[in-house]
């Protein structure tokens, strides 16, 4: 069991030092002076119990005093009354030392001021261990011992915890560090995860985020993503269980995407960006490990798609001529959010000749028309990920987001004669009774427009969706908060 009890400080003056610190060595005569003056001085040393030479010290060997009393700098001088710290100063500032100790004329031969050094308890090489040692008991997950002769990576494969790629071992140190990325308590319940309908805590999400390779600053995005998919509106149960090749596609918006280094530009769906890849992966690992959603079990996909490992990217807002996807979905500007969409893999739209918006829109409409089947209507939504060079054609012509979508929908009204079963020699289609009726390829709001991709290339992408509306899955947008 970890020792999490906070050591009580003795009354009087408490001074914390380490030999390694030049300022600490400099103030040794001052400490002697204080003791000679009759002050009740308790001296704690972090590194070397023989320092200062010949003085009575307490060795803070496990750094528990330093950790629990938030010592960030040495030397630190505290005045303690009835076990409670009432005053503190750090480094060497003569006036401050004299005020806290109530002894005047300290260190007359020393300069008036000298900054201190970093406390060992905040040393980056030690802080993760200390967080576990003194804070580890906040974690409730079962501990799994890996034998000395067992390879931990293979052990995690053996236990079925991975998506087929190696995962980072979720040790207490790593999970505690991950939890620094959120202000939420580890025991907070975030969502009920299908298909097993199990409550997931911040802690379990953090464990899976570690495994996915996330940094702590990505954790709020993973938490928001789990919230976004685990509800009846997005219906991750159905998205998982379907034989169609879809998974959650996560579109991230807001200044936080840039702060954590997400990719919205070149190779936006591809390899190479840690935030993009690991945020999406962590959400999928939560579905697998907490929700119990595994391929071949509840996941019945005929083909699946590589994005079911991770399909997450940021919108290029800075370079966009339009308002963002998030704004169009009611999120205030400059707010961090993500939108989840049940999507298949991206397909490329090529048009290198269009220089006017009408021609380019005709291309998009023709490509969108074929989604899933040229004769399927109203059943599926789509994301159009507009590349910057295509978006510029619209920007030059003054078409805003609404205009682009309006013109697309207008070009995707299809006569029922072309859609009925058997038409054009294709058995697939809508019932014969709908012959003569004009039907839209997409329901209103069924095309989501996002601006992303590299600066060169007259290309865009379409991400096809899954059964839409209340009977299937609808896009969900959640704000991201630390």
């Amino acid at each position: 069991m970890n020792d999490v009890s906070s050591p009580v400080l003795p009354d009087g003056l408490v001074i914390v030092v380490k030999r390694e610190c030049e300022t600490c060595r400099m103030v040794v005569p001052v400490i002697a002076q204080l003791r000679d003056s009759g002050a009740n001085v308790s001296l704690y040393v972090q590194d070397d119990p023989t320092f200062p030479d010949g003085m009575d010290v307490v060795h803070d060997s496990d750094l528990s005093v330093s950790w629990h009393h938030d010592i960030e700098t040495v030397p630190t001088v505290m005045r303690v009354k009835n076990g409670v710290e009432v005053e503190r100063t750090v480094g060497w500032v003569r006036d401050e030392w004299e005020r806290v100790t109530a002894v005047s004329g300290l260190g007359p031969e020393l300069p008036a001021f000298r900054p201190g050094c970093g406390s060992l308890s905040v040393d980056p090489d030690l802080v993760d261990q200390l967080r576990v040692r003194f804070g580890g008991s906040v974690l409730g997950a079962r501990r799994v011992d890996v034998a000395d002769l067992e390879d931990e990576f293979e052990a995690m494969f053996d236990r079925g915890w991975t998506d087929g790629l190696p995962v980072v071992p979720p040790t207490e140190q790593r999970v505690m560090r991950m939890l620094q990325g959120t202000t939420r308590a580890p025991s907070d319940v975030v969502a009920v995860v299908p298909p097993d309908l199990v409550e997931v805590t911040v802690e379990k999400i953090a464990i899976n985020a570690v495994m996915a390779g996330c940094k702590p600053e990505y954790l709020p995005w993973v938490i928001a993503g789990v919230e976004a998919v685990c509800n009846d509106t997005f219906n991750i149960h159905g998205v998982l269980a379907t034989t169609m090749p879809v998974g959650p596609v996560i579109v991230c918006n807001g200044p936080g995407t840039r702060a954590i280094g997400m990719n919205s530009g070149m190779n936006v769906f591809g390899q190479g960006n840690r935030a993009n890849l690991t945020i999406g992966r962590a959400i999928q690992l939560v579905i697998r490990n907490v929700g119990g959603g595994r391929p071949g079990e509840v996941d019945r996909a005929t083909h699946g798609n590589p994005g079911k490992i991770s399909f997450c990217f940021a919108e290029d807002e800075i370079g966009s001529p339009w308002t963002s996807l998030a704004t169009s979905r009611g999120v205030a500007p400059d707010t961090d959010s993500l939108t989840v969409f049940p999507g298949e893999g991206p397909r490329c739209v090529v048009d290198q000749l269009a220089r006017d918006p009408e021609s380019l829109t005709n291309t998009f409409a023709a490509c969108l028309r074929t989604l899933h089947n040229p004769k399927s209507v109203l059943a599926f939504d789509a994301i159009v990920v507009m590349g910057p060079e295509h978006a510029r054609v619209y920007a030059d012509a003054g078409w805003d987001r609404d205009r682009v979508l309006e013109e697309l929908h207008a070009r995707l009204q299809i006569p029922g004669d072309d859609l009925v079963r058997g038409a054009h020699g294709i058995a697939e289609g809508i019932p014969e009774r709908l012959r003569g009726v004009t039907l839209p390829k997409f329901r209103p709001g069924g095309i989501l427009l996002v601006h992303a991709g590299g600066g060169a290339g007259l290309f865009s992408a379409i991400i096809g969706g899954w059964a839409n509306g209340e009977v299937g899955s609808q896009p969900v947008t959640k704000t991201v908060t630390k």
Binding site: D47, S61, D62, L63, L126, Q129, L130, R133, L139, A141, R142, R143, V144, D145, V146, A147, D148, E152, A155, M156, W161, P169, P170, T171, E172, V175, V193, P195, D196, V198, V200, E203, K204, I207, N208, M211, D232, N235, H237, G238, A241, T242, T243, L285, N289, V290, G291, G292, A467, E470, V471, G472, S473
Partner: protein
Amino acid sequence: MSLVNTNKTVLLDPTNERRVATMERVGRPESLRGLTVGLLDISKARGDVFIDRLEERLSEMGADVRRYKKPTFTKPAPVDLRHEIATHCQVVIEALAD
């Protein structure tokens, strides 16, 4: 410093740590005659074609057939529907079709 790590790796369990309760199946009935048989249509296209035929055959065998339908095939059957079926039927057939 007494902060030396041992070699042993301790991992935190990423799963739901749930132990699944196993339930024994009820015995297979000798005959369907006189039993209430629920037919659950999951609302997938043309599933009704299959279920209609099943209803015919089961009725011929003397079963009391009741039909049920999920609101959508993409989501689990609502709890009230599951309860209704469990309360009224001795046998249930859930048909998946595409």
